[in-house]
Every structure is written in C-alpha cells, then in structure tokens.
Symmetry: C2
Subunit: 379 residues, 2 copies
C-alpha cells in the first residue's frame, strides 16, 4: 500500500477519469465490473468477455470457499489458473453473502459463524481468515470483511455495526501486511453506515484513516429509494481521498452509473445486466425491453440497432423472442452477451465524455433517449 | 429430382465417401448433422457451429410449425433468415415427434390428427401439408411424413404401417412436384418396417421405386438392441441405390457411426452428444466420462488432450466439474461445444480413412482406445 496504484487523469465536475493498476493489468475508470460469483460470468464464454473489452471480473469469496473449496483452487495454482482468466480479479469478501444467503449466522467481535447455503455445514469467518482466503485465491483486489446491514435498520444497530466493520478493517490491514501481500495486490476498505449521514461520515473518515488502496461504498442498493442512495453516495464521497479509487458495490443500472459517476464514483458491479438478461430483459439505447412480450414475436429488427455485439449484428428480436418462448439456452446466452456488452460500452462512452469534458452533455443526451420505464409493445 | 445431387467419390468396402449438393451448399459424407430442433442447436452459438465445421443442421417441422408458427417464419423470409443460418438445413417431417410427443393422435389414411404438447391445440398433418410446411420453412432437404412405430410392435401392425408410410411417400412426391420444388431442394423418403426383414425389404424396394433424392432409415434406435439395429441397417442397405445418399435417423454414438458407415450409411443425426453434454457426460478419445463424478474435481487435465476445441484448449476437467456442481450455464455450454466438435471431427477422420482406403484400420484403432463403458474415476 506504499505504491501509487491509482492515477486520476482528469476530472469533469466531480466525474473522474482514471487508471487503476493491479498485478494482472490496468482498469480504466469509471468501470463496470462483470460479476463472476462462482468463477464464471454466467452464460458467457471468457473469450467473449475479452472480445467485449472486459478488463476485470468479480468473484466471490463466500461462494468459492464453499465450492469448489480452497484446496482445489490452491492445487490449480490459484483462481486465475483455475478459471483460466489472465486479467484482474476482484474478490468480494463474502460479507454480503454471509448476511444475505447463509442460515443461522452468529456475529461476534471475533467474526461471523454461519451455515453453508449448499449443505448446511458450519463455518467461521474472521476478518483475518477472509484475507487469507483471498490470498489463496490470488485476487488482484481484496475486500475486507464487513457487516452489511439490511434496510431499514435502526440508528443504534447501524452505529454499532459500522464500528464493528471499522475494527474488522483494521484487523484486515494487519493480516494483509503480515502476509506481505501489499506488493502484489490491493486492499479495499468498505464504508458502511446505512442511510445515516453521521454514520457515513464517521465510517468514511475512520476507514480512510486506516490507509487502504481503495474505498468501497457498501450497504447501498439494498432496498432504499434510489434518491436516498444517491444522497448517501454524495454524502460519503466528500470524505474520500482524491487519489484512491471509489467503488460503489452492487450498483447498478445505466441511470445509476450516470448519477454516481457524476458524484465521483469510479467502479461498479451488479448482477442485474446478466440476471435480467436470463429473464428476457434487454438493455437498449432507447430503454429496457422485455423479449417475452408478445409484440416482439414479429419484430424483425435487431435488439439494439445502435449496438455492435454479436447478438445485435446477427439476430432479430423475433428470433430472440422465439428462443425465450421455447426455453432455449441460446436466448439467454445471446441476451447476456448483449446486456453486458451494453454496460461495458456505456462506461466506455462515459470515459470518453469525461476525457472530452462533456460528461453532463453526454449524460443528458443518453438519458433523453433511454427511458427509465419499460418501453413495451402489447403484452 | 432429375438432377444429380449426390456424388459417390469412393468406396472402401461398403463405406462410402461422397458429396451431397443442396441449394445452400455441399455436405461431405459420411456426415453427422447437429440437431437444432427449435431453430437452435442447444446452447451453441451459430458462429461456433461454423468454426467447428458444421455443414448442415437439422430442424423440426412439428416443433417450428407449433412455435413460432409458419406466419412468423414466412414473415422473416424463411427459416434460414429467421435463425440467420446460411448453410443447408434438413427438416424432419415431424412424424417422429407427432408419434412420440403429442397427445391424442388419431391416425387415418388421410393423415394424423394430434394435440400440441405446448398448449393442447388440435392440428392435422397430411403428407401434403407437411411438404407445404417445409416449403415455407425453405428446407434444403425435405423429409416425407411417415409413421414411426414403437419397438417392439407386432408384424401385422408394422406391415400395415409400412404400407401407409409408402402411400404417404407417393402423395408427398406428387405434392413436391406440384409445388415445383424439385429444382430448389431435395426430397428424402423414409424406409420403415420395424425389425422385420421382409418389411424392411418391401419398404426399401417400394420407396426406391417412387424415385426420391435420398433414402432415410427410420424407426431404428427406438429401443431395440444395438445388434438388431445394425442387422436392420445391413438388411435395408442392400436394396438402396448406390447413387443416392442414405440417412440413418436418430443415430448415434461413435460406435454406431463406425458400425453403420461400414454398412454404407452416409448421414446421421442424434441429440445425444448435446443432450448428454448438458448432463455432464463428455465424449473423449478414450471413452465417455461423466464430469459430475467426484474424481474429476481435482483432475487438472483437459477434457480430451487430443481435442482442439475451445473447451479443451482452455479449461480443465476440474473447472468443468466445478461448473456442473455449481449449476453454472458455462459448464453445459463448454461441454456441448466439445461433444459436438468431437462428433464432427470423428466423421472428418472417418471420411479421410475412406479416402485413404483405411476405414477398417482406423475403426479398429479408434475403438481399441474408445471404451464403450464409462471410464469413471471414483464416484
């Protein structure tokens, strides 16, 4: 954490253009990171991820620790080799999954005990253990263990939880330094505080004080209204240092990206573009559409005429509609490819707009075409 | 049916090397045709089909007629355009599907009434209508409507059914000629007769007498022992003309291909390579393996070291095993790609062996390595 891993190249308002250096390569920011929870971005070939310009993927500590397990990944020579991915990998700490997926979790000062959602087996995560696991995985960007609280939550609980997350972050850094990982990968802290401004301020300032390679905003997009999320992002951002990347976890939609990049966020991840793709929802430059709606059965235009992906260059909405109606895998494969490409191209456009000093102009133009509600044909 | 659509280039014993000409291109025989029942070879991108050397795909009249329906395919400009496939398409008549999938079928001299397996709606197929449907689809190779009987079936029923299929084939040719399709596509007849030698002889001789562009062997691989199937192939083949292609429907395994090509069969199709792939079964040069078995969790070798496909060049059995255990789409995508590539490469090897006059040698060599039972690690 002594090295300079982030270069802020330019600002346009609070929107930032940067480069993040990691052991397996650089990431241009702002960036939307494809989610590969279990060591695969669902239904997309790694070669297609490369073709669409993916610079980093996410994987999940909780999931990979439970399955296939660390022994197997260690034997493979780390996660990069196990999944054959030579570019950067950020691993989430598993905090969110422990709190959202596993049963019977018991939280204490020491860490969190939980039962596997797969087989009910009992496990114990400490901040130190989670760093060690991510060391075995060989992550480029390691996340600290945090407690991710639900929304809404009372101020008292949120305050105690934020303080616990802070103490865990300090222990994480100690273990990170003991393992001498600091020359090979990056350690990111996570700012919590639910939707309370005082807690966000406290969490941001005290986490920054620890001195980490980047700062994530956690506990957002967990059910609170969008405007409240944007407010918390703005509230938090002012306490974060200029020379470190800011990562808004679990966000978001095209609208979210514009709103939060405008507030100075550099990195995002979200399962929605691929999850919704599998359900037939497609992102297009004129808004979201649902391919299962009847009107698309006879729509022989491309999914998005403005898009250059394999799906849009080769197939019609009518064919995609048929594939979804017939329950064919190809439908979700083609739509996943398109939606992820859409998000990656969108951040590319945004980066260019910041470079050109035209962020707000491009935002306005994009949003005027992109409708936030479904643009549906008759169902 | 006046043109010469098939060239027999060479024989090695009864094994035949040939080229089949169709409106959308040539097919080298012997050939294994990938099955794209609903207008997609399950879980495989068309671009990957092309890369692995696919020269023709199958589609299914029954399925496409019911969904998306002929109106939509007609509006799209035919099946090739609807699915964006520029190479040949063979459409099965739907006979097999009507008799195996639909409810309440009632068969008469005129045709067959059935209920859709999708919505229970009532439909009536006649031999003529099935030709008309395939005309709308724009098939390169049209199959006649036949009755595909179960195994075992009594001789009396099989005899009456074979005679009906013959009368339907005659009506099919009349409609095919009326529609003036003969310059644009090929019409194949189907030899039935269950497992009765006298009926196979009768069906083959009388179907050939009609004069068609190719002859399929139907009603096999429907539950009878393998040796009985091979016997029926041999029995039938002797009555088929040298100058027309022979297509064994719904077959088969690598062993089946060798056995039946040795008997003079030119074309095959089977859903097993892709269906089994989705269940974790992989074809390799040393036999079938099931990726769900525990031993593969720590097997860091490629699926098949002898294979040149994307899956084998990039991923290990351990990773594929993880993907199947984790229920990830990528597992079935990678395995489908591999299995189909395996079958296509196998027929390529067989074609070369015939060309070199070494069919039996190559057969012996392949089968000595390829075990017919599962070569499983500890489950």
């Amino acid at each position: 954490m002594l090295k300079k891993n982030f270069e802020l190249l330019k600002k346009d308002g609070k929107a930032r253009l940067g480069i993040l250096h990691t052991p397996h390569g650089d990431i241009e920011t702002p960036y939307f990171m494809p989610v590969g929870t279990q060591g695969t971005v669902k239904a997309i070939f790694p070669s297609d991820l490369i073709k669409m310009g993916t610079e980093i993927i996410l994987a999940n500590t909780y999931h990979l620790y439970l399955r296939p397990g660390l022994d197997i990944i260690k034997q493979a020579g780390g996660l990069h080799k196990f999944i054959n991915w030579s570019l950067p990998i950020l691993t989430d700490s598993g905090g969110f999954q422990v709190f959202s997926m596993s049963d019977l979790r018991k939280i204490s000062e020491q860490g969190v005990e939980f039962r596997s959602h797969i087989d009910g087996s009992k496990h114990f995560f400490t901040p130190e253990k989670v760093i060690e696991i991510q060391d075995v995985l060989g992550s480029d960007i390691i996340m600290v263990l945090d407690e991710c609280v639900h929304y809404p939550v009372e101020h008292d609980y949120a305050k105690a939880s934020t303080e616990l997350t802070l103490r865990w972050a300090k222990r994480s850094k100690v273990r990170f330094q003991e393992l001498n990982l600091s020359n090979n990968c990056l350690l990111f802290g996570i700012v919590q505080g639910s939707t309370y401004k005082d807690l966000r301020k406290f969490s941001a300032e005290s986490t920054v004080e620890i001195g980490l390679d980047g700062y994530a905003l956690g506990g957002l997009s967990v059910g609170e209204p969008n405007e409240l999320m944007y407010e918390m992002v703005s509230e938090t951002e002012q306490y974060l240092p200029e020379d470190k990347p800011r990562y808004l976890m679990g966000v978001g939609t095209p609208e979210d990206l514009f709103a939060c990049i405008e507030q100075g966020i550099d990195m995002f991840d979200c399962v929605l573009p691929t999850r919704n793709a599998r359900n037939g929802q497609a992102l297009t430059s004129v808004g979201k559409i649902n391919l299962k709606n009847a009107g698309y059965r006879t729509d022989f235009s491309p999914l998005d005429p403005a898009c250059d992906c394999y799906t849009c260059k080769n197939f019609t909405r009518a064919y995609l509609s048929h594939l979804f109606r017939a329950g064919e895998f190809l439908g979700l494969q083609l739509n996943s490819l398109h939606n992820l490409n859409f998000m990656l191209k969108l951040t590319e456009i945004i980066r260019r707009s910041i470079s050109d000093g035209k962020f707000l102009e491009v935002k306005k133009d994009f949003l005027s075409k992109y409708k936030t509600s479904y643009q549906e044909k008759d169902v």
